[in-house]
């Protein structure tokens, strides 16, 4: 029961129970249940509306999430203790109190979260996920053996892995940077999570995730192996994705088979826009724009974030990047921004063109 009042119907109760109470013979209980159901309906719809709203709409309507407004990183890390109840998760660490913790997963996400915040702030002057100082919330040890990490629209959630194929999804900074970048994308172009736009959404997360790792490890384009999640996947020959050679992150894996990512547009996979079709292969076809970025960044040389990263960030934050953008749209925008930043006949423009050419877009 809630601490602030003592009517159980005002508390969070499961929908099936609410339905029963709404049909109760006791008028008082039924009335309360109907009101509660109405509030829940409005809450759900508000959430859906705000998730789909553009940055402009969000600005007009005011703040929708806790924002600090301060130009310092604000972060909280919670321990889910292998349960799926986020509300019941325990606060492990917060940037205000900087508690000493023993959880490895907790330490990993603090490190990855800081590296991600620093990356966006120091390179692009971006103040957190929403550029308004949003409090970064990370949840570790979610569920029993969950082999995944995700961004749920407000926070990052990590599983411990199944211990057979995957270890903790907090093990790699690029995975943490990937999830945080989903939040950045959601606050910018808010790319649709399906088909080519969805693959671009995934690709932006991989691109910024790998650069966050490269910067943390002081790796230039030659030193980096361009692998995403190499520690998350158990076994020295495996990673979750390869940006340098999509389709080779894992080959003949005893459980997973072979990495299905294509590197070039002629191998684009037309999958159904369904759950089982990965919403049109968003995690599969992202190999194509990933490869274009790799080639462009490699040809520019040096640190990826200094030139290629600037161009891709300019595109990610460009109001002309449509929610349903296709690969060709991002190609055109990256060429345009490379020309604007470095000059239309610059080696950087040539490198970007070469990237998309090799990806056959």
């Amino acid at each position: 029961m809630c601490k602030t009042h003592y009517n159980p119907i005002h508390c969070i109760i499961p929908p099936y129970m609410l339905t029963r109470l709404m049909e109760s013979g006791n008028k008082k209980i039924a009335d309360l249940a109907i009101k509660s159901n109405f509030r829940s309906f409005r809450f759900r719809n508000d959430r859906i509306f705000f998730q789909k709203a553009s940055q402009y709409e969000k600005d007009i309507l005011g703040l929708i999430a806790k924002q600090t407004g301060k130009e310092i990183m604000q972060m909280e890390v919670y321990d889910c203790r292998q349960k799926t109840d986020l509300i019941g998760a325990t606060l492990l660490w917060d940037s205000k109190n900087n508690q000493k913790i023993t959880s490895v997963a907790g330490k990993n996400v603090i490190k990855g979260g800081k590296a991600s915040w620093d990356f966006y702030w120091q390179l692009f002057g971006r103040n957190s996920i929403d550029n308004k100082g949003l409090l970064i919330r990370q949840y570790v040890h979610f569920d029993k053996g969950m082999d995944n990490a995700y961004w749920d629209g407000r926070r990052m959630i990590y599983g411990d892995g199944d211990g057979l194929v995957f270890t903790s999804f907090t093990s790699d900074i690029d995975v943490i940077g990937h999830e945080l970048t989903h939040g950045v994308t959601e606050n910018e172009a808010n790319l649709d999570y399906e088909n080519q736009a969805g693959a671009l959404n995934e690709s932006f997360s991989d691109i910024f995730g790998i650069m966050i790792k490269q910067r943390y490890n002081n790796q230039d384009v030659k030193k980096s192996n361009w692998l995403i999640g190499e520690k998350v996947m158990i076994g020295p020959k495996y990673a979750l994705r390869s940006m340098k050679a999509p389709g080779t992150a894992y080959i003949n894996h005893p459980e997973l088979g072979t990495d299905p990512q294509p590197a070039t547009m002629d191998k684009y996979q037309n999958l159904p826009n369904t759950q089982s079709g990965d919403f049109g292969g968003v995690h599969i076809n992202s190999g194509i724009p990933n490869f274009a970025f790799y080639v462009a960044a490699f040809n520019m040389g040096g640190y990826a974030w200094e030139k290629a990263g600037r161009i891709w960030y300019a595109v990610l934050t460009d109001v002309n990047l449509a929610q349903n953008a296709k690969f060709a749209d991002v190609k055109n925008l990256t060429i345009a921004h490379a020309g604007r930043i470095f000059g239309i006949n610059s080696p950087e423009v040539i490198a970007v063109r070469q990237g998309w050419l090799e990806a056959k877009v």
Partner: protein, 86 residues
Amino acid sequence: MKIKLIRTGGFIPITKAAETEVNLSDKELASLLVIIKPDPAAPRIKDGNYYELTVGSDSTPVDLEKVPDEYRDIFSKLKSDLKIIK
């Protein structure tokens, strides 16, 4: 009857499945599927996992967060038994 839970999605798209025998009437199953039906307007979780329940040849998307207490053990077991489909 035999029910099969299928999990898709994730950071890398993997399909996992587990099945079990349950003692549910057709009517009970039908009302359960209504209760655990996902909200079609809910935004897609980035890198999220999605679940389907297969009974015979019919597959229905399900939201495991909505599973009522009396069926929670069945779904917890199914979840812990999930194996990668190669």
